[in-house]
Amino acid sequence: MPPSASTNLGYTPPDGGWGWAVVFGSFISIGFSYAFPKSLTIYFKEIQEYFSISYSEIAWVSSIMLATMYAGGPVSSVLVNRYGSRPVVIAGGLMVGVAMVMASFGTTILHLYLCVGVIGGFGLAFNLQPSLTIIGKYFLVKRPIANGLAMAGSPVFLSTLAPLNQFLFDHFGWRGSFLILGGVVLNCCVAGSLMRPIKIKTKPPVSKTTDENDTAKPDVTSQTAGQDKSKQSGCAAKVSQFIDISLFKHRGYLIYLVGNVLLFFGFFAPVVFLAPYAKHQGIDEYSAAFLLSIFALVDMFARPGTGLVANTKWIRPKIQYFFSFSVTYNGLCHLICPLLPGYSGLVVYAVIFGLAFGMVCALLFEVLMDLVGAQRFSSAVGLATIIECGPVLLGPPISGLLVDIFMDYKYMYYACGMMMLAGGVFLFIMNFYNYRLLEKEEKEKQVEDRLEIGSAKELAANEEDKDNEEKIRLNTEEEVGKSICEEP
């Protein structure tokens, strides 16, 4: 079994107890982060009429919010490294709340871009990263289940926010709804208050120099200094005080990044285009919306289910393969979608796509934790989200372009399927290679350790011998001395 990078945590995570309350808090935070930008689209038509702008101008609000949420990853990581998860989540919740309240008084579309897009996006970024990080701090053995449960927040919140937004819109118009949503989003602060910084029993210090009493402020520099043998000069050293950029030398992390960039190009577009594709085939609006509900329902149960499966003793050691499998399965799903006929075919597609989508989402951050370990996770996820920002934002518009050029949805599905298949196959091959290399390194390390132990034992034995010799010498000297003294 390849060495798990999380053994360098320095303490044993509780794996339960208050951890489940933390999972609930993460559930709420992650739910708001992913579902909130998508659910705002209900207001777009009225805002568009109110400001007399085109559809693409109003769609920018959602895009800016999503972009800032991903781009704010590194900022969030820096703050979490410094202050811990709880203050950052509470601050994030306050930011989004204030942003929505300010937006409800907006007079121009630029006002909305700034409030909802930029400030709201940063607030959501401050919610997403810390929620993921703190799961790694509280769980080790049951971590995949905890991750699966927390990530299930996204579909649950999307299914509740969508009808809630419609209800608010019908009764209060868009301004009143933004005001009330500002209040609803403040519940992220409740989630943040649940994220108690972990207090651990201190072990007698072994060979580490980190401050183990207070893991709410992990000392990243000494950790990295211990692990990173090469010297870092000047501004690289300064940057690494805030965020761990030595991650870019980590082989597994680089594989993860490349695989993610490939897969995110084709990840979200099929969800966005599911309903329009159904309508294009002549299906009425309500049945098309029902397809999305089926998809969300399957997704909701697939995420914790995948967490359970990933936790079993057969899958956990090779969880990277499981992730590659789910990405490949996703790609295959999209490739067969155009071949399925009629409404029943689309229902089948929605079910298997929901399963695939849930699997990938549940494992997305679990495999990252598995690769880099919980201590470096917050920096890792921050750097990963800012790199994923590009494909996430470009994916749906490029797919839309494909649809416009060919006037047919099937080429878009083929393209998305190919991208995900490419990502999945890449991850499979590279992870196979990575596992092999890790096993080799582990064997070499064991041999080294054994040699060290052997030589240490020899040294100790030598020392003992020397001591014994000394003692014998001293004794004989004493005896000689005594005998001399005793002679009259």
Binding site: L186, C189, V190
Partner: protein, 320 residues
């Protein structure tokens, strides 16, 4: 705005559509090709045909569809036609392939369910088809549902003749706030002569552009609430739709907002308090800094007193 005179010439064309192996009733309407006619795209389900209207006293209207009729079933097929100006319209129903193939059958026309007097005709079988047609002069009062019915097999097709309907209507009212502004909009597929808004006065701005109209109301107050009717004026009859406007004051959404904020504050305080209370029980090594709960304080005093006793005991020992 006076309507420009349209020069027209009519030519007749017929089109037939048949599906093999299916008994079907075919609707055929003649259509005219003239200058300055308006062409509208057909509904998306039947991309094959187009409707064209011409402005004249001559018979011009064309629309056709394929309807499959199965023996023994009593299907009623409906076809919608948008009429913009008073005109003469010829409606034609074509029936093929009925059992027994009698040499002639009878058919009649009905308007809004009532049989039109003297409209019954005997239709001969020509080229294996039975063609029933009639010309109607349509004015504003003549708009309605016209049906051609064949007596023998009760096959029936209904043409709905009406002004274009303003679709895309909201069931729920538009909500806005006092001292805010709102935009109400009506849209159509065809361009009317003009648009009218009812319940309008000086503080509104009306913007008309072809097949859309927008009404902007500035500086709203509670009196602006109510029904607003947008009316598309056609030669034959205006087509109307209504939008309901509700003007609220800012205190309405403020109440749920404050309720939620209070709930959030209460929950956060409860959680943080509970954490402080339960902290010293778990953390035995720390000397409790924040004693909020009484249990905590008694525990502390007990610890302290133990410590004091120990010290004195130790001192006594040392002294020995």
């Amino acid at each position: 705005m006076p309507r420009p005179r349209r020069a027209q010439h009519c030519c007749r064309e017929t089109a037939l559509f048949s599906m093999a192996n299916v008994r079907h009733l075919i609707l055929l309407l003649l259509y005219c090709d003239g200058m300055n006619t308006e062409t509208t795209p057909s509904p998306p389900s039947d991309p094959v045909f187009t409707t064209r209207k011409a402005v004249s006293k001559e018979v011009c209207f064309a629309d056709w569809a394929t309807i499959s009729w199965h023996a023994g079933q009593n299907q009623v097929i409906t076809e919608e036609l948008a009429i913009l100006t008073p005109q003469n319209i010829e409606l034609l129903c074509n029936l093929t392939d009925i059992p027994n193939n009698p040499p002639n059958i009878t058919g009649y026309w009905a308007k809004d369910g009532q049989e039109i007097e003297n409209s019954e005709e005997t239709v001969n079988r020509i080229n294996e088809q039975y063609v029933l047609k009639k010309t109607f002069s349509i004015q504003a009062r003549d708009l309605g549902n016209y049906s051609c019915i064949f007596r023998e097999n009760k096959a029936q097709v209904t043409f709905v003749l009406d002004v274009p309907v303003i679709k895309d209507k909201r069931d729920k009212p538009v909500v806005s706030y006092t001292r805010d502004s709102v935009v109400l909009e009506c849209k159509l597929k065809y361009t009317p002569n003009t648009w009218n808004w009812y319940k309008a006065n000086n503080t509104e701005k009306i913007f008309n552009n072809g097949n859309r109209t927008k009404l902007t109301i500035l500086n709203l107050s509670e009196e602006h609430s109510g029904k607003y009717i947008c009316s598309a004026v056609f030669d034959i009859k205006p087509s109307e739709s209504y939008i309901e406007l509700k003007v609220l004051s800012y205190t309405e959404p403020l109440k749920p907002f404050i309720a939620i904020v209070v709930e959030v504050i209460v929950l956060v305080t409860l959680i943080l308090l509970w954490e402080k209370c339960s902290k010293p029980q778990h953390d035995s090594s720390s000397a409790g800094e924040n004693d909020v709960c009484s249990e905590q304080t008694t525990k502390l005093t007990r610890d302290e007193s133990n410590g004091v006793e120990n010290n004195t005991a130790r001192r006594r020992k040392l002294d020995d």
